[in-house]
Amino acid sequence: MMTDTTMSAPSKTKSKSSRPGTLALLLNNTLATSGLVVLVLICLIALAAPILPLADPDVTAPADRLLPVFAEGHLLGTDHLGRDILSRLIWGTRVSLAVGLSATIIAAFFGSLLGLVAGYAGGRTDTLIMRGIDMVMAFPYILLALAIVAVLGPGLLNALYAIALVNIPFFARNIRGITLGLSRREFVDAARLSGKSPVQILFLEILPNVLPVIVITMSTTVGWMILETAGLSFLGLGAQPPQADLGSMLGEGRKILFTAPHVSIIPGLMIFALVMSINLFGDGVRDILDPRLRAGSLTRPVSRTAVHRKADDIPAPSQKGGVLDVRQMRTEFEIGSSVYKAVGGVDLNLKEGECLGIVGESGSGKSVTAMSIMGLVPTPPGRIAGGAAYLDGEDLFAASDRRIRDLRGGSVAYVFQDPLSTLHPLFTVGDQLTEAITTHQPMSGSKAREKAIELLSLVRIPNAKERLSAYPHELSGGMRQRVCIAMALANDAKVLIADEPTTALDVTVQSQILTLMNGLRRERNAAILFITHDFGVVSALCDRVAVMYAGRIVETGTTEEVLANPRHPYTAKLIECVPVLGEPERRLDAIEGRPPVVNNLPEGCAFAARCPHAQAACRAGEIGLEMSSDTRGVRCLFPLNSGASA
């Protein structure tokens, strides 16, 4: 039954480069690219110094001292000893770059090592290492560097050591934090159970995951290191005469700043260009490598999903009426060069006090459907590509942003899966509830408070008055979800959209929440759109159910009808997969294969590839949702039990 479900590798190779690559992303960032160009240019010139036709940087010519810029034979003039500034600048840049880079590498190596060991070992080792690091950090860095140079004696190499040492804490603290998080992860436990020793785990399992962070930290510190080297050289503690280095050039030119400004301004500008280009490039690298930023949080969030639909392609409201009427809604995500059709033409209809369940597996588009209705799908990459959603006859996709803001949390309210991440951790439950109330209904603080207490009692929270001053972390999961429901009900919502509200909860708490929601919709006559993957939960609460697969509704009907007599093969299979309490002997019937990826939907029925009853006709043309009665419909050419009781 389940053999070669995954024996044949799916066609994964085809759309390999649908996401833009790292380099493409970098080039897309103008500032980072210009930083890179300047940096590469400077590095090339500095590297080429020995083969360029330059004057010897250390040869003095007192007769030609302090020549201005563009003087004969000296493009950038000469300094107070008659040395060619251009030559000294290029050779000096070489030194500064070399020192900055090696100091970074030394600091990164030792800092990361300390951080890794401290983060992984924990306990006393961690305390010991980190308190040592704290002590280094507690000194002003320049003072510490000065002290080190004072002990070791001035010189470029000693300045390098000093700067590297001063920067070790920066790496150590950063890397320790990351390691600490990683070493509590399951794959580390798994490696331990695979027989790996702590050293192997640290360097073979954790280090590869920390490496990007080390690179990011390095890219953002190189510029800073170069500045620090220049600072020490400026004070006469780094490069010793006659060796050229950007800092020492600046220091020497300082004395004659007013008589011959170009002697100090030119190295100053070079330091500026170098550090600026490194920082711009480093920021670009960080944005690309940092997974948190890569996920799209760098794009400016838009308050509402973009709507791209043709003016002549807006379906009229259906004849059924109802509070919420979704018609042919399509939502797409454009990622790289491919378009993911997450929702491909969904019709929903909700009447007052009715509960409609949307059931589907992960990736079936049920959450996107729910989020699209009030424009909560992030843009980019998401957009509403067609269809309409009518709330009491008003087209939500055509409404103004202002109107949508009023409706959100007002007439249409959401309850999400994870109440801990929905509630703000720094405000009390009471603050958040009163805010939800006063945003939509202007009223005095004390009145809003009364209303908040009333709402908390409505969702059966004991001691409502005391609970107002509780923070979310002080409440249990079930209590938090009750608070979320209270917030959703704060402004007499007509439609409540609940996206897996009980999935994160324990069974006993789940049954409490389901009972509560069922009671509330009868009391308040609110319509509920309930999204879940669990047919058991649907039975407990929903009047009607719509089964989604690959972004479309494949079957709809009253809960009893669909459960007792599923007509789409997918629905039937899905119900058979669920183990039922009290029937342990029942063999679980798995569905072979995997759902199609929505950027590459097959022609015809999306389920055909996994369907035991599929025929040639299933793989061609559009298959409509055939409604056999007012509520019952199935998107299948050869539905099950067609002759029997349907």
């Binding site: 389940m2 070669d4 479900t5 995954t6 024996m7 044949s8 994964k12 399951e186 794959f187 436990d189 798994a190 490696a191 331990r192 159970l193 695979s194 027989g195 790996k196 590869p208 995951n209 597996e361 992960s362 969702v459 059966r460 929270i461 249990s476 079930g478 209590m479 009750r482 324990d506 069974v507 006993t508 708490v509 789940q510 049954s511 409490q512 389901l514 009972t515 509560l516 993957h533 669990d534 058991g536 939960v537 039975s539 407990a540 459960l563 007792a564 299979k573 899905l574 119900i575 997969c577 669920v578 183990p579 039922v580 309490l581 009290g582 342990p584 679980l588 019937d589 798995a590 995997r594």
Partner: protein, 335 residues
């Protein structure tokens, strides 16, 4: 694998847990004083017989994951003993962790998080073969092929990275890794709760088949009663770090003794079921820092009496034939 199948199947205890306790926190503060302590697992005694599947059910915070980590040696008990084939597990874990890992393995709840994102599947699956067995390189290669075959994955998956897999496939890889060194006991910590229902059925069927093929013993931990019922021979119900009820799966689900088991069963939603049992909102888990003196479930229990609040019932306070025990003074189904 071979050495396992040679042993005859019998019902002797493979794993024995006696009065195990695990306390978190409770250390001393820098300037005297005691840090607050939580009893994650308390007074737990339990046998796992060779060749059986023991289901462990309970809600979040009941200590079932702590129990799992204790059994595989990722954590050590504060007091009490766990013996595997007569050998003390804590001593073994301290002395030779790899010897323990050869006998007891673990399958994680979140299949994707349990695979290192920067390693290929080959590196991940080779690790236990390298460190836990003394197979030569060519035999390892053959073993890898066997493992993939056993969990129904295509050989070309070896060179891929974890993020290229769906949850179900990743869990098969996790199972293959647990099988690699030929363990006798596998602890499955919520192995299907992160998966879609259709995939869940695939993985459950696979686990069933592997158990028969390799003569394995399972400890199957889950919060989902229907899943536990469909896979287990015996079931342990845990509440607040203690055993509430222990017995053959059929008896527990047909005639639960402990009111908590009954509550769990009546709370579980099922297709076609409308009337969910629902308690009052005020019923909450007891505060772990300030545990009640008596039965931890008493505050939620309809049958509680003075006895329940005064003292804790012993794990075998009430019995009903065939090794069915419950920690309850007033078991259900008895007058």
């Amino acid at each position: 694998m071979n050495q396992i199948s040679q042993k005859p199947m019998d019902s002797e205890a493979l794993l024995t847990i006696r009065d195990v306790e695990r306390i978190f926190g409770g250390g001393r503060k820098l300037f005297g004083g005691q840090l607050p302590a939580v009893h994650a697992v308390q007074g737990l005694s339990l046998d796992v017989k060779k060749g059986e599947t023991l289901g462990v059910v309970g809600e979040s915070g009941c200590g079932k994951s702590t129990l799992a980590r204790l059994v595989v040696g990722l954590d050590l008990p504060t007091s009490g003993s766990i013996t595997f084939n007569g050998e003390d597990l804590a001593a073994l874990a301290r002395k030779d962790r790899n010897a323990l890992a050869r006998k007891v393995q673990y399958v994680f709840q979140d299949p994707v998080a349990s695979l290192n994102p920067r390693k290929t599947i080959r590196t991940i699956l080779e690790a236990p073969l390298k460190h836990l067995t003394d197979l030569k390189a060519d035999r390892r290669e053959a073993r890898l092929a066997e493992l993939l075959q056993a969990v129904n994955l295509a050989p070309e998956f070896l060179e891929r990275y974890p993020h290229e897999f769906s949850g179900g496939q990743a869990q098969r890889i996790g199972i293959a890794r647990a099988l690699a060194a030929g363990p006798e006991l596998i602890v499955l910590d919520e192995p299907v709760s992160a998966l879609d229902v259709s995939v869940q059925a695939q993985v459950l069927n696979l686990l069933d088949k592997l158990k028969d093929d390799f003569g394995l013993t399972y400890i199957f931990i889950s919060h989902d009663l229907s899943v536990v019922e469909s896979v287990s021979d015996r079931v342990a119900v845990m509440y607040f770090g203690r055993m509430a009820e222990l017995g053959p799966a059929k008896e527990i689900f047909r005639h639960p003794l402990h009111p908590y088991t009954d509550l769990l069963m009546r709370s579980a939603p099922a297709p076609g079921r409308h009337d969910l049992m629902s308690e009052d909102a005020s019923t909450e888990l007891p505060d772990p820092y300030n545990p009640p003196k008596g039965c931890a479930f008493a505050a939620r229990c309809a049958h509680r009496t003075e006895t329940c609040i005064a003292g804790k019932p012993s794990p075998d306070e009430s019995k009903a034939g065939n090794n069915h025990i419950a920690a309850c003074y007033h078991p259900l189904g008895k007058a």
